[in-house]
């Protein structure tokens, strides 16, 4: 029988993780000495503290798509005698390690799935992403208590996932309710059956209750669907975008912190006259140079449209291209933005303008 729901007692979490770590590296939300919680690779299970009550400040993006990554190195050898000039490239692929990601929030798990479509589902597979992603195991944590800026309910990526994870844990006080989705999750349960007891009806009731309650705890109401719909209908809120763009300070922070912003730059970094590295780094569409071509021609009017490209990309273009918005509602950009012109402000502004219009229309009918 393939049972899909189990119970893991909280006392057994650490012993369970210790077993997992025997054949894998462990990445989990860890509170560092500054009090910041970050997804971190754990070296010492007993002296580092896994923090499951805070939202990790980073997402999992950089584990699969590092901020700076060497793609290859190259050598340039001048022609000598009979031998012609040579200009060769030597790729440097990362090793494909087995890693378990524990305590992953629903939005972050969803973001990984989204990045998969970008890096693995396109015309060419990104072999660098693939090497890091191939042997990953995800144990997610359903969100019973959404954080201050969260709106995954509106982005439809949480607070509970229905699929996509290997194992999903739900905190039921003294125990975790464990759901299995992917084969790799099933294997884990089979490998260490001593930790898992079958979930009973009480557990299922408690799980259902927790899921229900968490939905009522969101502090923000962000109408992502309405924004997507308005943009799809051709809405172009020029005034709003100009207002927000004027306050964008062009730091790229929103794109860097975003779990689904995957645009990158590739540059050569010479190490000497005859060799160098080809490196890719994160890039952001709010940067002036992102679209600037040789001869200073730029297809984007950057001052008045700095943030336009990003918001349209997230809420309109990705819907057309991939079937859904790529904003996962994690709210990280809200805390990041210097100018206070994050995607939530854009969605709010867009929807408020629509509200006003419908009110007017109704008044007109009266």
């Amino acid at each position: 029988m393939r049972r899909k729901q189990w119970i893991l007692h909280k006392d057994h979490l650490l012993p369970f993780l210790r077993k997992l770590r025997k054949s894998r590296s462990l990445v989990a939300p860890v509170r560092n000495s500054y009090g910041d919680t970050m997804y971190t690779e754990m070296n010492d299970l007993d002296n580092e503290s896994i923090e499951l009550a805070e939202q990790p400040q980073n997402s999992l993006k950089s584990f699969f798509f590092p901020q700076r990554e060497k793609l290859c190195h190259y050598s340039v050898d001048e022609a000598v005698g009979d031998s012609a000039q040579a200009y060769r490239f030597y790729p440097s692929l990362p090793e494909s390690r087995a890693v378990v990601y524990f305590g992953v929030r629903s939005c972050d798990m969803f973001a990984v799935m989204y990045c998969d479509t970008i890096f693995l589902g396109g015309r060419e597979r990104d072999v660098y992403y693939d090497a890091r992603r191939r042997n990953a195991l995800f144990i997610t944590l359903a969100c019973n208590h959404p954080f201050e800026n969260c709106f995954c309910n509106a982005a439809r990526t949480g607070p509970y996932l229905e699929m996509g994870y290997d194992l999903q844990f739900t905190d039921l006080g003294d125990r975790y309710f464990v759901e299995v989705d992917k084969a790799r999750g099933r294997e884990v349960v089979q490998q260490w059956p001593q930790f898992f007891v079958p979930a009973g009806d009480d557990d299922r009731q408690a799980h259902y209750q927790a899921a229900l309650e968490s939905r009522g705890l969101f502090r923000r109401q962000v109408h992502v669907d309405l924004a997507v719909q308005l943009l799809d209908q051709g809405e172009e809120p020029q005034a709003l975008l100009a207002e927000l763009s004027a306050r964008c300070q062009d730091c790229g922070g929103c794109a860097f912190i975003c779990p689904t912003c995957t645009c990158f730059n590739i540059v050569d970094q010479p190490l000497s006259d005859d060799r160098g590295e080809r490196v890719r780094t994160w890039d952001a569409c709010t940067f002036d140079g992102f679209t600037r071509m040789a001869g200073n021609h730029n297809s984007v009017q950057i001052i008045s449209q700095r943030v336009t490209k990003r918001f349209y990309h997230k809420l309109r273009d990705d819907v057309l291209r991939h079937g859904r918005s790529s904003c996962v509602g994690c709210g990280r950009c809200v805390g990041m933005c210097f100018g206070g012109v994050d995607i939530v402000r854009f969605i709010d502004g867009l929807c408020a303008a629509d509200d006003k219009r419908s009110e007017k229309r109704e008044d007109g009918h009266d």
Partner: protein
């Protein structure tokens, strides 16, 4: 909706995984070395580089179509997308026609025959050779924009029976900036109707003066409903030419143009060439007019 959308994503991942079996060893980011065989100076700032891969196997398996582009690496300068300006029907070698306009292209212009560059590709969509069979073709180019169109012209010259009447309208700012002048005689001999125009003439200029749209007289109305027009050049020129072509009676389905964007990967990942929901590197660079919305973006 949650479940459905996750499923969509999931199934895409699955197809991706199946694909991996085919492509395990392929690293799309690694360029192959190519050697410059010959350099033709077209204008003060434009040269055509004839080249081939160093590895003979690469040369044998390399195939491309008019309109596609290569990612070109020059030592220490990174990469840039460059249109192929030759036709694969014509020779085992292929050509890139490059204007000296930035850091990489400047370095490219300092190279000599025998020097080596890196190449990835070909990438992107091509002009629709199948659809072009038997049709009259109106080819409108501006400045360096003639490079990808030259690939079409060479194909036509090589297979005159495959196409209807082929007309080339080519304009630039002044006579010194017209590329491919030395080979135009051979185009004409192959039956291509060639018209030139410049904004500002000098002594000895024997052709028309004005904008390339001035050449688009009633003479070039589509003879048949299925006649095709191919346009390439600076954004603003494309805009006006397309406008004029539509006035002349070309349907948006039958006009093709290419877009130029900053690019880093060439295969749809880096995000630099996003143009609305399209990625110029994989959905383009050749687009049907009907695929493009407002032309202000060009």
């Amino acid at each position: 909706m949650t479940e459905r959308s996750i499923r969509t994503i999931d199934s895409q991942v699955m197809t991706g995984r199946a694909g991996r079996l085919r492509l395990t060893s392929k690293n799309p980011y690694v360029p192959r070395s190519a050697i410059i065989r010959e350099i033709t100076r077209e204008t003060d700032s434009v040269s055509t580089f004839v080249m081939s891969f160093i590895d003979e196997l690469e040369n044998n398996s390399f195939s491309y179509q008019p309109g596609q582009f290569m990612m070109v690496s020059v030592a220490h300068q990174g990469e840039a997308p460059i249109s192929i300006s030759s036709s694969s029907l014509q020779s085992d070698f292929f050509s890139l026609t490059i204007r000296n306009s930035g850091r990489l292209t400047k370095a490219m212009h300092s190279l000599k025959p025998g020097n080596v560059i890196g190449l990835r590709g070909p990438y992107g969509t091509a002009f629709p050779l199948e659809e072009m069979q038997g049709r009259n073709l109106l080819i409108v180019g501006g400045g360096i924009g003639m490079a990808p169109l030259r690939s079409v012209v060479h194909t036509c010259c090589r297979q005159p029976d495959h196409f209807g009447k082929v007309s080339v309208l080519y304009g630039s700012q002044n006579p010194g900036e017209l590329c491919f002048q030395s080979e135009m005689q051979s185009w004409k001999e192959a039956g291509v109707d060639c018209r030139l125009i410049v904004d500002a003439a000098d002594n000895g200029w024997q052709h028309q003066v004005g904008l390339v749209t001035d050449l688009l007289t009633d003479e070039f109305r589509p003879q048949k409903k299925k006649d095709l027009a191919l346009v390439c050049g600076p954004g603003i020129m494309i805009r006006f030419v397309i406008q004029r072509l539509e006035e002349l009676g070309y349907s948006p389905e039958n006009i093709f143009t290419t877009l130029e964007r900053h690019m880093k990967c060439g295969f749809g990942l880096c995000g630099h060439c996003h143009c609305r929901e399209k990625l110029v590197c994989v959905d383009g660079p050749v687009f049907r007019r009907s695929q493009l919305g407002v032309l202000e973006d060009l």
